[in-house]
């Protein structure tokens, strides 16, 4: 199992999904290893270091070209990683990324172990889109399809021809992957439209761990909303704060938002200033809690009526949606991409027009004026895939002929 980060250091959804799958494999007695790329300093020029029990290994490497995710100038992939492969001799390599590791990693695996089965889980639109794989234009508008000339308009430093080169190069490296896994149908469709074979991409949700904490009680006098996850510009926290600002004061007084978000201090100062400015007039209704550990979620979510996912990009399979559904917490989400795949309007949650504070304010007004709505849709929430079920769905990809 290979990831672009170890969850001990990087708490991204992809890293956690990879690590959980690895842990589950080990629990079920598999001869599995976990290799995670790290930016920590190595021992004097070493490519690897040891994390735990001889099976968790950190890979100290970096790309030399962030445009095509290339890593050929150092010996890390074609020599150090190749040597590690010939020691471990895996039958199956399941990668949860190539970002930071180098996209030539698939080629190197097949160079060393021609019969090794290579699986890649796609976690966002990175191969398709240079804008952090978000398919969100640099002017903030949603992007429906990559096109060399349009990409050049987002990134004038790169020629249209450069985007063709990028696409061809990444596809040539992807040719060494036997199966792709997509955690959402939406993401799969984007990759199939881009050129991957439909039958080669399998939709398997990221598996969830069993709940391990006793729930607490929800308050009676206010409707409590939760925002979870990174606080960065594409997560739409600004849309949520604006929506609360638009509410009638009498409505707003019955609402409280808890922000459980990480990495706010790492955002640009412009963004920080903007968010602080939006919070100021409604600060009585907003609590900034900070980051949380995964095991605290059940307790935190059990005190809430709704979770809000106001992302302004497509998303893939946001962890917070699954975590909320595992905890039977209804969701209010933007009506696009990977979010509407899991939340159906007025069935198991509510959706609103992406990026529109007015539409979200209407939804919020509704949940306050109709407090029974939360209980109604809660009954329709289906628990997400467990990690054990997720692994069972992977097994045919690992072992089938």
């Amino acid at each position: 199992m290979i990831a672009h980060g170890h969850p001990d250091f990087n708490k991204g959804g992809a890293e956690i999904a990879a690590y959980r799958l690895y842990k589950e494999l080990r629990d079920q007695g598999s001869d599995a290893y976990f290799l995670a790329r790290t930016q920590l300093a190595p021992h004097g020029g070493a490519a690897f270091s040891h994390r735990a029990d001889g099976r968790e290994i950190l890979f100290h490497t970096n790309m030399d070209d962030g445009f095509i995710f290339s890593n050929v100038k150092t010996r890390h992939l074609w020599k150090d990683f190749a040597e590690l492969l010939s020691i471990v001799k895996p039958d199956i390599v399941h990668l949860h990324h190539y970002f930071l590791l180098g996209v030539e990693i698939f080629q190197v695996i097949k160079n060393v172990l021609p019969n090794c089965r290579v699986i890649l889980t796609l976690h966002e639109y990175l191969a398709i889109c240079h804008q952090h794989g978000q398919m969100l234009k640099t002017n903030g508008k949603l992007c429906y399809k990559a096109n060399a000339r349009d990409c050049n308009r987002c990134f004038p430093d790169f020629e249209p021809g450069d985007f063709l080169l990028r696409e061809h190069y990444i596809k040539q490296q992807f040719a060494h992957v036997d199966h792709f896994v997509s955690p959402s149908k939406f993401l799969k469709q984007r990759y199939v439209d881009w050129g991957l074979a439909n039958e080669q991409v399998h939709v398997i949700e990221n598996g969830q761990l069993p709940l391990d904490q006793a729930p607490e009680k929800r308050p009676q006098n206010v409707i409590k909303l939760g925002y979870f996850g990174q606080l960065n510009p594409v997560k739409g926290i600004d849309v949520l704060l604006k929506a609360i600002g638009l509410l009638e004061p009498s409505v707003r007084s019955k609402l409280h938002l808890e922000i459980h978000g990480a990495n706010f201090d790492q955002q640009t100062s412009d963004f920080q200033r903007k968010i602080k400015k939006l919070i100021k007039p409604i600060k009585r209704h907003v609590t900034f809690v900070g980051s949380y550990e995964p095991h605290e979620l059940t307790r935190i979510m059990s005190t809430m009526h709704w979770a809000v996912v106001p992302s302004t990009w497509w998303e893939n399979s946001p962890m917070v949606i699954q975590e909320a559904q595992a905890n039977h917490l209804p969701l209010i989400v933007s009506d696009i991409g990977g979010m509407v795949e899991k939340v159906e309007h007025e069935v198991n949650g509510l959706t609103f027009r992406v990026g529109s504070p007015v539409a979200l304010a209407e939804a919020l007004t509704r949940v306050i004026e109709e407090p029974e709505l939360s209980e109604q849709v809660r009954l329709n929430i289906k628990p997400p895939l467990t990690i054990r079920e997720a692994l069972a769905e992977h097994l045919p990809l690992y072992f089938s002929a």
């Binding site: 050929v72 100038k73 020629e159 021809g161 190069y169």
Partner: protein, 497 residues
């Protein structure tokens, strides 16, 4: 910093020492911009060096420069300094505005470097630039974070960086000569042929004869290659990576002898590192011919062709990418099937699948009377709209992709290197084949991407490079004169409906 480059820089310093001994030296290797700041990476030398010695000025106003230093033992080792305290690598954050980029100077002791006149590589992101720091990378990252520089810069304010490529003395002389051409004079062609051409061709020819070529082989070359492919590299050496990846995935490229020619000595070190990594990653074997001076299109191709060992020779540009596997086998088969073929070209398309080239024609332009210029018919038309013949008999096909017999290429003397820097050597070679009775063709069945840059608007009339193009056209005219029209009548039949 490549060793060869350090040596070159050292030679420069030592050369200077004889008449104007300066103590300090600044070298900028890489530059990028992030968070609205200019970020430079390089090394500096000065006796009793301290990190606060390096300063930046916008004209005469001091800019706030924050400097991180790290050890550069490799550079220190090349100087005769016992202590490394005299030489350090630096990472500088400079608060510079776009408008001041032309006036920006770095000052260290008795040394001043104007950024606009310095050659450096532009890194696309800070992260990419940091990769060149080595062991002290993490300290450099901490330094940048401390000064609020975002490592991921895609959404940040951006300063456009242009690395100066100072003209070499030869080219500077050529520029001065061609600047004398006065297109508004009706006698400009005669004047050019009499006064300009002999002078610039003399400079260019003597350069060609002084080159040293070193050929390195990467991987195991095929024993009896079906075709030798010569690809010159200038500036964008990353094209090599895209081609090698594409060729490696194509079974039909297994018996091809691929020869890159690095016609850009400044990139020598980067290309050596990259070529090694690529050969360890991809299966396609290749050679690289390293030239110690820049020869231009004709000279570089001729140098590469000298190492070709198969019967067929393909001259290919580095910004060409196949649209499908098996393309070269098909092109070779088509060549074998044609009647007395000279050069077989390919249909070239842009990334949007519009025509870049499906054959060339001579054209005259009223603003430059008296010469033929090369014209690409149907340029920009969606290729799907054209009913391309399997092989169009033409007089001219572009130098970006030319398949021919190696022995004939050599017999005809290859590309004429009196075309200075590059232009018209392709049409000239086509005419050499035609004059010997061979018919040139353009394949309509083999289509390749040709990723030419977007044009940067109309070039102004006094641009010296455009004048050089006209001078080369005047040379072609002088060389072929009236026989051009005879050749057109006889060999350019493929354009009739």
């Amino acid at each position: 910093m490549p060793k060869s480059l350090i040596r070159k820089v050292l030679r420069k310093i030592r050369g200077e020492k004889s008449h104007q001994a300066k103590d300090a030296f600044i070298n900028i290797d890489f530059a990028t911009s992030a968070s609205g700041e200019l970020i430079l990476l390089g090394w500096m030398k000065k006796s009793q060096l301290s990190s606060t010695d390096l300063q930046a000025f916008d004209g005469s106003i001091a800019c706030n420069a924050k400097v991180f230093t790290y050890s550069r033992d490799d550079v220190a080792a090349h100087f005769d300094v016992a202590s490394t305290s005299d030489v350090q690598g630096f990472l500088a954050i400079i608060n510079a505005k776009q408008s001041s980029m032309d006036k920006l100077r770095l000052v260290l002791g008795d040394r001043t470097v104007e950024l606009s006149k310095h050659r450096f590589q532009v890194s696309r992101t800070v992260d990419q630039l940091l990769n060149h720091i080595g062991a002290e990378r993490s300290s450099a990252v901490a330094f940048l974070k401390k000064h609020h520089v975002e490592l991921d810069t895609a959404a940040n304010e951006h300063i456009e960086l242009k690395s100066a490529r100072p003209l070499e003395p030869d080219v500077e002389k050529i520029k001065n000569y061609v600047s004398r051409i006065n297109l508004s004079k009706s006698s400009w062609v005669d004047d050019c042929q009499r006064e300009v051409l002999p002078a610039i061709q003399k400079i260019w020819k003597s350069r060609q004869s002084s080159v040293h070529a070193e050929c390195l082989t990467y991987g195991r070359m095929p024993e009896n290659p079906r075709c030798s492919v010569v690809v010159p590299l200038y500036g964008r050496y990353d094209f090599m990576q895209f081609q090698l990846s594409a060729f490696s995935a194509d079974e039909a490229m297994k018996d091809i002898e691929l020869i890159y020619v690095l016609d850009d000595p400044m990139l020598d070190h980067e290309v050596r590192v990259t070529a090694h990594g690529l050969s360890q990653t991809f299966s396609m074997p290749f050679k690289v011919v390293y030239l110690d001076i820049n020869l231009g299109f004709a000279g570089a191709n001729n140098q590469g062709a000298a190492f070709a060992s198969s019967e067929l020779l393909l001259m290919l540009n580095s910004d060409i990418l196949p649209t499908r596997s098996g393309w070269l086998t098909d092109l070779c088969k088509q060549f074998d099937s044609l009647n007395s073929p000279g050069i077989l070209g390919a249909t070239l398309i842009y990334e949007d699948e519009s025509v870049q080239h499906c054959g060339m024609q001579f054209t005259t332009e009223p603003n430059v009377p008296g010469i033929y210029l090369n014209h690409h018919p149907y340029k920009g038309v969606p290729v799907a709209l054209l009913d391309l013949p399997n092989a169009r008999p033409v007089l001219l096909t572009t130098g970006a992709c030319m398949l021919m017999r190696t022995d004939l290429y050599r017999e005809l003397g290859g590309f004429d290197d009196r075309f200075v820097i590059g232009d018209f050597e392709d049409s000239d070679l086509c005419m050499k084949f035609a004059a010997k009775g061979y018919q040139n063709y353009v394949s309509g069945t083999v289509k390749l991407f040709h990723l030419e840059r977007l044009s940067q608007g109309l070039v102004s009339g006094d641009n010296w490079k455009q004048k050089l193009t006209f001078a080369n056209a005047a040379y072609q005219h002088q060389k072929w004169n009236d026989s051009i029209d005879t050749l057109i009548d006889k060999y350019d039949s493929g354009w009739q409906a």
